[in-house]
């Protein structure tokens, strides 16, 4: 029996004024899949994440998340959590770890609802999942690159997402931090049963975590299992 589909990308062409980044891309992702998106720089990987999140409207085609279009149903966006590339984050932003995780509650709280004890408990639980609860009151600025990523993952998890999108989660990290992020993402896929789509160039990350690999070079040029991908790379 075929697994239930979470995400459908149907004939999507998307880009920016004067530039087509994705052309006629088709694939679907089932619940609890661990999918890596690979491809050259400028090949359309980050654009694909934006289209999936509903932040960029496709010029052609549709993206359905739980059978709904995110362009029409903005509320559904809160079911998708996103972790940006580390280089996009100001590493010296004045915030404590708990403040960063609390940001993930925005979809629920909006501008004016108060943070309750239950929310504070969820902040602790989200940090426990990434093994950072003991540092809850520490400044974000004091953390290593890997610890910062884990805090940002906790921020993403607090909204109880169905789909987690990661943009180059291990880029710019030292080897130890790369291993800790790999383990965290593996736990999320296996223990938390989250559907995870990660854009990555990291071959170790790919080999040790991804069940399926999608290669984007403006068009979709490969869609298969991780072992098939490496087999083809060797050939």
């Amino acid at each position: 029996m075929e697994a239930k589909t979470l995400l459908e990308v149907k004939n999507v062409t998307a880009g920016y004024p004067g530039h087509v980044a994705l052309k006629d891309v088709n694939f679907s992702v089932a619940f609890r899949e661990a999918v890596a998106v690979v491809g050259p720089n400028g090949g359309g990987k980050s654009t694909l994440l934006k289209v999936i999140m509903g932040l960029l409207e496709p010029k052609e085609g549709t993206v359905l998340f739980c059978n709904e279009s995110l362009m029409k149903n903005r509320e559904m966006r809160t079911k998708i959590a996103y972790l940006p590339q580390q280089s996009a984050i100001n590493p010296h932003f004045p915030a404590l770890i708990e403040d960063i995780v609390r940001l993930g509650l925005y979809g629920e709280l909006g501008l004016l609802k108060s943070v309750t004890k239950e929310h504070e408990q969820r902040i602790i639980e989200a940090l426990e999942k990434v093994d950072m609860a003991s540092m809850i009151g520490e400044p974000f600025e004091h953390l290593s690159g890997g610890q910062k990523q884990r805090v940002l993952i906790a921020r993403a998890l607090i909204s109880n997402p169905v789909l987690l999108l990661l943009d180059e989660p291990t880029t710019g990290l030292d080897l130890k931090s790369q291993e800790s992020i790999l383990q965290t993402v593996k736990d999320l896929s296996e223990k938390e049963k989250l559907t995870v789509i990660a854009v990555t160039h990291d071959q170790v990350f790919l080999k040790n975590w991804a069940e399926r690999v999608i290669r984007i070079e403006q068009r979709l040029t490969f869609d298969g299992s991780s072992s098939e991908y490496f087999q083809r790379s060797e050939d």
């Binding site: 932040l55 996009a88 984050i89 100001n90 932003f93 004045p94 960063i100 925005y106 004016l112």
Partner: protein, 279 residues
């Protein structure tokens, strides 16, 4: 010193210093974190061009300054968001164009106007009751907007893509912030002048950044430093008979020096903590 409190105009100046010092320092936190200080300078130029036109036409300078600065905000914002220009370049264009307009309007005047040059260099001692009312109103509106929108501004300052993915309409937040900036700059022109208003936005927030790791605390400290620095600067300008705008900014600069020297962040990295904003 006792003389200082005997004159009504000095009380007005003191009130204006506290209002503008606090207001600019609150907004300044986001200006610093988002690397928008050049946009602040550009908006101030736009406002001054409006004030110059108002003097040429004989109409209300605050309202014309406000109109020009809001137009400037929207032009900067639209050309950076909808065109292919970065914010720095689009600000640079309108910065130069509005300065040229200001020079043109001044050149068209038949006589030298000292009041207009008060807007260029600041003259807090000339603040009238009407000016004070205008500043209070703008201060109230801007502070209320910042408090209500605090979570959205916080998320926007931290990371725009994550904020957008969480449902925040970041483009609207950006335009709203620039508009609040324009309102505050226009309200500040008479106090510190067009040339120094950017320093007013940047220095207290940068000083506060040296002392804390929390955004909320950074705002509180920035507001306190901005208000105290403005009051001390005003009193010093009275005692030593020096220009008030310059005096206030120099006191704010001294505060920054002290905050940097005694920053707890020095224990974790080099002098002055990390780089703020601009990502």
């Amino acid at each position: 010193m006792v003389q200082f409190f005997q004159y009504a105009f000095l009380w007005r100046s003191l009130a204006a210093a506290v209002i503008i010092g606090s207001l600019c320092s609150f907004l300044g936190v986001f200006v610093v974190l988002k690397g928008l200080s050049f946009s602040g300078a550009g908006i101030a130029h736009g406002a001054f061009a409006g004030v110059a036109l108002a003097f040429l036409l004989g109409v209300e300078p605050f309202l014309m300054g406000l109109l020009f600065s809001l137009i400037m905000v929207w032009l900067i914002g639209l050309s950076s968001k909808k065109g292919n220009l970065n914010l720095d370049a689009s600000t640079g264009i309108f910065f130069a164009v509005t300065m040229a307009l200001a020079i043109l309007f001044i050149g068209m005047m038949r006589q030298y106007n000292t009041e207009l040059f008060g807007f260029l260099f600041g003259n807090i001692l000339a603040v009238t009751e009407k000016d004070l009312l205008f500043m209070t109103l703008i201060g109230f509106v801007v502070t209320l907007a910042l408090i209500i929108g605090y979570r959205a501004f916080y998320y926007w300052a931290f990371d725009e893509t994550m904020a957008e993915a969480s449902g925040i309409q970041v483009e609207k937040v950006f335009f709203l912030f620039l508009s609040l900036l324009a309102l505050s700059i226009v309200a500040s022109l008479k106090v510190v002048g067009e040339l120094l208003v950017t320093a007013f936005m940047v220095i207290p927030a940068s000083s506060a950044y040296q002392l804390t790791y929390s955004l909320k605390n950074m705002i509180i400290i920035s507001v306190i430093l901005g208000a105290i620095g403005s009051v001390i600067g005003l009193v010093v300008s009275f005692i030593w008979d020096i220009p008030s705008g310059a005096s206030i900014v120099l006191v704010l600069g001294l505060e920054f020096l002290l905050c940097t020297l005694f920053s707890p962040k020095k224990r974790h990295k080099g002098v002055g903590g990390g780089d703020v904003g601009g990502r």
